[in-house]
Amino acid sequence: MSNETTFEPRIVAFLCNWCTYAGADLAGTGRKQYQANVRIIKLPCTGGIDPLFLIKAFERGADGILVSGCHPGDCHYNSGNYHARRRWNVFKPLLEFCGINPDRIQFSWISAAEGGKWVETINSVIDAVRVLGPFEGYQKINAIGPEGPGEGFAPSSDTTGCECK
């Protein structure tokens, strides 16, 4: 689990294809440096992000999550981000109610033109989670499983049920 000396937060970012993913690309094109603690998963739209994805990311050892998409009114699919916002409006308080720190699950609107905002946002998410420390609570439950510690990568065939191929 976490290294005793330095804790490096593990952030999973779920980005929409049209705005934030392109914004993160733009940060790259502009060679804007940021901390490397993030792994990006691209989906067509924030509206297509099921809360299960976020829970799964925590199960797989994420210390924090960022969900980011187009600004309201700019959704490539017109209303995807509005529906997403509705979801997070109930899902985030639910997680907080269960004792998950709000900084561990964050949301942003970052357009394809906002490379700078992407850098600022991801850095600040990483910093915030760094302050919180590792998500030990979740890691503890994970450790209880029959397959032993849930940390780390296991070949997918073990966890996705039978592979009837």
Partner: protein
Amino acid sequence: MGKKVGVFVCHCGTNISATVDVEKVAEEAKKKYPGVSYATTYKYMCSDPGQKLLRDKIKEEGLTGVVVAACSPKMHERTFRNAAVKTGLNPYQVEVSNIREQCSWVHQDKAVGTEKSIDLVRMMTEKTRKDTSLDAIKVPVTKRALVIGGGIAGIQAALDIADGGNEVILVEKDASIGGHMAQLSETFPTLDCSQCILTPRMVEVAQHENIKLYTWSQVESVGGYIGNFDVKIRKKARAVDLDLCTGCSSCWQVCPSKKIKSEFDTELGNRTAIYIPFPQAIPSKPVIDKEHCLLYRDARKKNIPPEDSKVCRKCYDVCPIAPVKAIDYAQEDEIVEVKVGAIVVATGYKELPNNVYGEYGKGKYQDVITGLQFERLASASGPTEGEIRRPSDGKEPEIIVFIQCVGSRDPAKGCSYCSKTCCMYTAKHAMLYKHKVHHGHAFVFYIDIRCAGKNYEEFSLRAIEEEGATYLRGRVSRIYKKGEKLIVLGADTLTGSQVEIEADMVVLASAMKAQDDAEVVARTLSIQYDKDRFFSELHPKLRPVESSNAGIFLAGACQGPKDIPETVAQASGAAAKVMALLSSDELEREPVVAKVDRLPPPVFSTCIGCFYCQRVCPYGAIEQEDIKARDGSVIKTVARVNEGLCQGCGLCAATCRSKSVELAGFSDEQVYAEINSVEFN
């Protein structure tokens, strides 16, 4: 049998390899990732030899899945997929791991970059292992185009498409086509008469056998998708039968309501209640303004059908058409339904009205006018027949002040952008003024002079050097009336002095704004718009005429302020795009569409038919399907995706509680695999 995945790590010259140990990434992949049977690196994967390497190895190694770790998939995903197709591998078995934009370019430390790349490649490998082969969706194309807006942009687009041999439906909300360009006096930088160059094109539209023109009409709704749009057009009742009317002008000559402010003349002139907007109108047939017409007013007051009112029927009486007159008071709106394959949006702009600036009198001074009003004053067909005279008393202004950037570049008034045309038309105005009022003096207040365009700089210099307009760099802080004069207080920032000018007339170079109903239009068409409500192009540089909705193209000032040459160029560009689209019989679409599962009886589908998916779908792509027993009785009603309508956002999949809907290319298995393999070092 498991999938055999090949991993190709690109150096991108040194763009990647400088901060990522590409060899190590490939090595790790080969050593540790399940399913990876081959891994290598190459200098430039996107180059011809790079693509050849990819093709060769797919064949040699019998790869059934490919991960290319390179630049953003937005750059070369298509390149690699196309390369794979040539080997017979399904293109959707090829994925790109973004280790340049989102890794090597943003992290300096090579160890860190390498570790992250290893993670990213692993995640994409896991996803690839769950990739399924997908086939592009083929949809037929309706070979007809719709052009919305009959200004110069719409006219140009319609003519180009029609000349290409396609049917065009041109919809214009006003009584005549022509738009703003018809209102202009002379055009920069050549000073040729706007109407002289425009009206022949308008006539061409009217006479073109491939163009069907609907004026006094609006697009009510747009359904469907690229190649197959279903459009409803509302033909507003104009109280005149266009088929019968010959445009003989008898009716508007006898109309007793003569003092109605003419919209075409920017309220500087008058028109009648039954009217054509301007003499060269197309169609040259009138419309009744029901707001002001005595008969309709009477009918509204008495709450009776207009045809029963007896107040004034002069236009009807005078109409020479027999036996059925062309005037039809009882005419009602009509909805026309058409199918088109492509749409060009050319809805134009709106000029910022002159009542926005309190410091310029908020519109209370008659002699403070907008640029467009000046155009009407300077136009030979305008209310003063081209003489520059003050609206208040008809006197010739001897001192005239032009103020640039009124609204534009002023975030306080809601337009942070530059309207682009004003520097040029103000220079033109100053010239036209000097041509007409030789002894007069023109002052121009400006922030910057932006005249970038062919012969533009020379044109603006002419206004200064040859025509003697006094250009003052600074803003006007205040206009107030003193007797018959307008006192203009401003700053000359080049000399650092205050300027006070006793002017006879002031012309505001008002900003070009998006149309008031731009949002409504955008929603009707499901296209995006920007913060200023101008419609968004798909890519600011490389896809400037495509909207965010496939098959819908943009032309002219509805996409952002533009002058005539630029508008015409964009319109022709949009027309070319439309023709390319209409030239094929079938279209291929990315098969990234949702699908509701189907299973053998007795389950049929895990869908329980709550239809949340149907409610959230932005495209109406979810339909209800009855699953029936042999006897025809309904066993259950479940959701089904219309692939033609689905745009692949995945809203339905995320909304479905039982995960009975999945998005191809981002299936549950694929996303799960990706998340599940997140491992940090």
